[in-house]
């Protein structure tokens, strides 16, 4: 198999994080091991832990091209590799193909490559992102096994096997809504990304808003992690926090003002940046208006003993 004769060899490729992405040392080692071993990296974890972002940042840091496949439940998997434009071929066989210069007698002229196909045929090593793989049906995952294992796929109609010229670095993300099959998992390096700790969150904020005052970050983090505890349907995650801090900075809300608002039980400024669902905003509003007090007590009584 042709590999590494190109400009970059796997051994010199190391990823150290970027100016926009906070990389925990553990995740850093993981990315570099996966790169060195030519193995697909499966990242699991809740939304807002930077799974997708990581793929983009690896591509940027190592100046590789990124090929993105966003998965949908209606996908069959094959179209991620290639598609054959039968309609165009039939059309051109009847009305001529002068404008496009394709030859209806040739199957190849009507192949449309999907993200996987493109990354396999590329003349350079790239990053291939399969985003939210858990949205696909389980037979799609089975169809992808050859891709993950041997970096090849077959164009069925003409029985031709396409092998990656330079094995792309495959990053797969999953919210773990549905379980992935064992054969699929066996072919990947799997890592579960934990939600950032307040300490790590500080670094992340500093990367995005370098000149934020410590006081504002303190106040914002307190509010943010408290909100996350309150059991909203969609708890605010990293990107919500960053947007919110952005808004606070632009409007120059000072930390004392923020503290005053919280202490007096008023509605937080720019709440819409933190909570996205109408139901969550309603629940929040009810709570600060005191209407939901009884519900709060109920919750305490039926406290779940999970997770000791």
């Amino acid at each position: 198999m042709s590999s590494n004769t190109n400009s970059k060899s796997n051994e010199d490729m190391r990823f150290y994080g970027t100016d926009r992405y906070f990389l925990s040392p553990e995740l850093g080692s993981i990315v570099n091991i996966a790169l060195a071993m030519d193995k697909p990296l499966l990242l699991m974890g809740e939304a807002g832990t930077g799974k997708t972002q990581l793929a983009f940042e690896v591509a940027r840091a190592l100046s590789m091209k990124i090929y993105v496949a966003r998965c949908k439940s209606t996908m069959k998997g094959e179209e991620l590799c290639y598609d054959h434009d039968t309609v165009a071929r039939l059309y051109e066989s009847r009305f001529g193909s002068k404008e496009t210069g394709r030859d209806p007698a040739k199957f190849d002229d009507y192949i449309v490559n999907g993200p996987i196909g493109k990354s396999f045929l590329a003349e350079e090593k790239g990053v291939l992102l399969l985003d939210e793989i858990d949205k696909t049906e389980s037979d799609v995952q089975d169809n992808l096994l050859d891709i993950l294992e041997a970096y090849e796929f077959t164009i069925r109609e003409i029985d031709r096997t396409i092998q990656a010229k330079y094995k792309p670095f495959i990053v797969i993300t999953s919210n773990a809504k549905r379980e992935l099959s064992d054969p699929f998992l066996r072919r990947c390096y799997c890592h579960y990304i934990e939600f950032p700790t307040p300490e790590q969150m500080r670094y992340i904020i500093a990367l995005h808003y370098p000149k934020t005052s410590e006081n504002l970050i303190d106040a914002a983090l307190n509010i943010f992690y408290a909100l996350r505890q309150q059991g909203f349907e969609k708890a605010p995650a990293t990107s919500e926090l960053l947007n919110w801090i952005g808004a606070l900075k632009i409007e120059e809300v000072s930390p004392p003002t923020l503290k005053k608002i919280v202490d007096s039980g008023d509605r937080l400024p720019y709440l819409g940046a933190l909570l996205k669902r109408a139901g969550d905003i309603q629940a929040y509003t009810n709570r600060i208006n005191g209407r939901d007090r009884s519900a709060d007590w109920d919750k305490k009584d039926t406290f779940s003993y999970k997770g000791y």
């Binding site: 071993m37 009847r94 379980e179």
Partner: protein
């Protein structure tokens, strides 16, 4: 880099391992993989080869990197992480932690209703402090306390019941056969107690059973109902060629809807009665697989036999009228999981139900027949293996139910047969 060299080069590796690796022996790492296996982490030869390759590439320079590397190679599911950590600490640091299995067991026990009720009571009565419970008392100790209280209660009220087992091997002493939740009430004296009065008991068919069976997934994979649905976006090539030829070569495109899986499944599970106890682990595997597989899946619970109400929750508190089930889509595939073993009265007499509070004028048999005639596709899956059906406890009722429903056993083969049976039923 040679493997031995790589091994010797790993920084901060404990002395014990260093000595062995200097002798140039890769066996130690093979040993490590066997340790993993002992702790329930599934290992294949491929992993060992991969590990060797990674060592040659110099990917483990210190013990931390070694940890991350071996974890990446070996742990594919989050539920194996604990087992891995235990194995790693045992092998490399000589520290033995309680096994993963015990933790898993313990947590499922901590989730169980009786324990929660006990804990609630303790906190309310001020015997335990909430903060202590949450942070300071290790769950093992907490659970031991619980067992102690219960043991005392049992001594006092029932003159020493057996449930905190003298006959089990489990570290928490309940009798070894109970694979799922926690046995709190006394073992029923006779299996067919006509009316079991007392607290309800349920087997917790946890979704997160440890054992998984890949084969089962594949067996269920053929269980489909492909129907054309959605917008007409797929080119029907055969029809297009045919029409075009008819048109003397003037192209006419024909589109059709894609085939999508529109299968509906209703799963009825017997989760009560001691006769189902030994099968709870098996049922939970099947349940977790079925849940993954079907998008349109409804689960109902019943105890021993089906009467006028079935239940939406495992505790059998939320009633759901069986009549409502009977007006659901005829094409729903109905799977019933139960041992079909009960007292004959439960099946054929009015008021035969043994569940406290269930008084139904119509015998279970009538309800079962109604379900069978309403749905085109139904199968009874029995956890008792087929060859024991004639000898099993409750063989009478098993035969009677077998006359109403097509019955298969809850084995891989049985499930395949059931799927085949349903797939070959014509409308």
């Amino acid at each position: 880099m040679a493997v031995t060299e790589a091994l010797i080069g790993i920084k901060r590796i404990p002395f014990r391992i260093r000595v062995i690796s200097e002798k140039g022996c890769l066996m130690i790492f093979v040993d490590f993989f066997y340790t993993l296996k002992e702790y329930g982490v599934p290992i294949t030869t491929q992993y060992i080869l991969e590990f060797e390759e990674a060592l040659k590439k110099g990917l483990a320079k210190d013990i931390d990197e070694l940890y991350i590397l071996s974890r990446l190679i070996c742990v594919k599911r989050i539920e194996h992480l604990d087992g891995f950590d235990c194995a790693f600490s045992k092998y490399f640091f000589g520290i033995e932690m309680p096994r993963g299995g015990e933790y898993v067991d313990l947590f499922s026990l901590l989730e169980s209703k009786p324990f929660k009720e006990w804990l609630d009571k303790q906190i309310k009565e001020g015997k335990l402090d909430f903060g202590d419970v949450r942070w300071r008392i290790p769950p093992q100790d907490l659970f031991k306390k619980f067992l102690k209280t219960l043991a005392e209660q049992n001594e006092a009220h029932h003159g020493g019941n057996k449930w905190i087992g003298t006959d089990g091997t489990s570290p928490y002493g309940h009798s070894g056969r109970s694979a799922g939740g926690l046995r709190v009430l006394g073992q029923s004296q006779r299996k067919s107690a006509l009316k079991t009065i007392g607290e309800r008991r349920y087997i917790n068919f946890a979704d997160t059973a440890k054992i998984r069976s890949e084969n089962l997934r594949q067996a269920l994979e053929t269980f489909k109902n492909m129907v054309p649905s959605g917008p007409k976006t797929e080119l029907d090539l055969d029809e297009t060629v045919y029409r075009t030829a008819k048109n003397a070569g003037e192209i006419e495109f024909i589109f059709r809807s894609e085939l999508r899986d529109k299968i509906k499944v209703a799963l009825l599970i017997d989760n009560g009665g001691y006769s189902m106890d030994p099968y709870s682990a098996l049922v939970s595997i099947v349940l977790s697989k079925i849940k993954d597989r079907f998008k349109d899946l409804k689960i109902y619970y019943f105890r021993n036999c089906i009467y006028g109400n079935i239940f939406l929750d495992q505790e059998r508190l939320k009633k759901y009228p069986t009549e409502k089930l009977l007006v659901q889509d005829k094409d729903t595939r109905v799977l019933i999981i139960g041992d079909a073993s009960m007292a004959p009265e439960e099946l054929s007499y009015p008021d035969g139900a043994i569940e406290y509070g269930v008084n139904d004028k119509e015998p279970g048999e009538v309800w079962l027949k109604r379900i069978n005639s309403r749905f085109r596709y139904s199968v009874w899956l029995n956890p008792i293996i087929k060859s024991f059906w004639l000898d099993a406890y409750g063989t009478n009722t098993l035969q009677m139910i077998g006359d109403i429903f097509h019955m298969e056993d809850l084995t891989l083969g049985g499930i395949k047969n059931a799927v085949d049976y349903i797939n070959t039923q014509k409308e």
